[in-house]
Symmetry: C2
Subunit: 197 residues, 2 copies
């Protein structure tokens, strides 16, 4: 097991978890991996970053479910499963190389037993997430409630499929913080303080 | 809504949540209500404290479930439901009277909209909880795994029956902390700091 110290941040869509990760990394003077993981994954797989992002949003149950139920380590041979294996290796390599913050990508579960991790979950009430999503990503033709519901569902399905754990359960993380109530700066301060202890 | 500030602590059996509550209250110089709530409830109901504790451990589904499915505010007329109403009023009165820490009893949901609350959930991995339970409560004839499983289930059923929320979901709390990984003193420090902000 490496001596590097990793912070993993899982987050609800619109909770500001990515911002927490970026600010935390800046404060600690370590890199933050989020969008960059998609780019590395694209490079390693030969797909475009858009294709990688799209595959990670699709339901793992949409195809090859029969393989998924087998005991095979690779859980079938869908594009998604191949990307999962590549992503897993990229995250393990990162943790081996340096201390860093990793946002999303089930890094908490991938690194279990492989690195010294502080695992966090960032969430917020729906009304605050809706406000933030419109501010950060802008309006779309799809109603905000439906955007949140769809994204929450996709993340939960992806996480549960590849980790076997229920999405959003407090007990799966060292700490879970409501960024809407506590504020993003407070979330960063709590995490920075824990990291430095 | 009262100006008092309340900390509610929900906790997994054996996580040390009660100890977190007591230490936090001592540090903040405010009272902590836990076992004392049982005594107040006993006094108000005419039952013995033992009977009150026992009723709160029984499944709300064990009787009167037909009433529970009705729209009645009182959700049936079982002893448990009557105790729930009394407990609800005792907690509302406490929050009206003074700033305090309240451990368990679904106080987070009862006080929603009635008081300025910081809501916390304290949890820990099963092996650490098992160790703590034996240290604090001693061995019994029942295997430790079964004691944890039974108590977890009872708390979840009670909470879900009376609040309509899923037990242990991160999004139901302002923060959730793993006392086994972070340590009880760190949990107390984080909560005290948030309370004083």
């Amino acid at each position: 097991m490496t001596n590097n110290r990793i912070v993993t941040i899982s987050r609800q869509f619109g909770s500001g978890g990515r911002t927490v990760g970026k600010q935390l990394a800046a404060q600690l003077g370590i890199p933050c991996y989020d969008q960059e993981l998609i780019e590395r994954l694209a490079e390693a797989s030969g797909f475009t970053p858009e294709m990688v992002a799209k595959q990670q949003e699709a339901s793992p149950y949409s195809s090859h479910w029969a393989f998924a139920l087998s005991e095979s380590q690779f859980m079938g041979t869908s594009i998604q499963d191949q990307l999962w294996q590549l992503q897993r290796q990229i995250i393990l390599d990162l943790a081996e190389k340096e201390s860093c913050v990793i946002v999303g990508r089930c890094a908490d579960v991938i690194l279990k037993g492989h690195a010294d991790c502080l695992t966090a979950f960032i969430h917020a009430q729906k009304d605050k997430r809706a406000k933030r999503i419109v501010e950060v990503y802008g309006e779309t033709e799809v109603a905000i409630d439906k955007r949140i519901r769809d994204k929450d569902k996709r993340r939960a399905v992806y996480y549960e499929f590849y980790t076997g754990q229920t999405w959003g359960l407090a007990e799966n993380f060292h700490l879970a913080l409501d960024s809407g109530e506590l504020g993003i700066d407070t979330c960063v301060a709590i995490l920075a303080d824990l990291y430095q202890r």
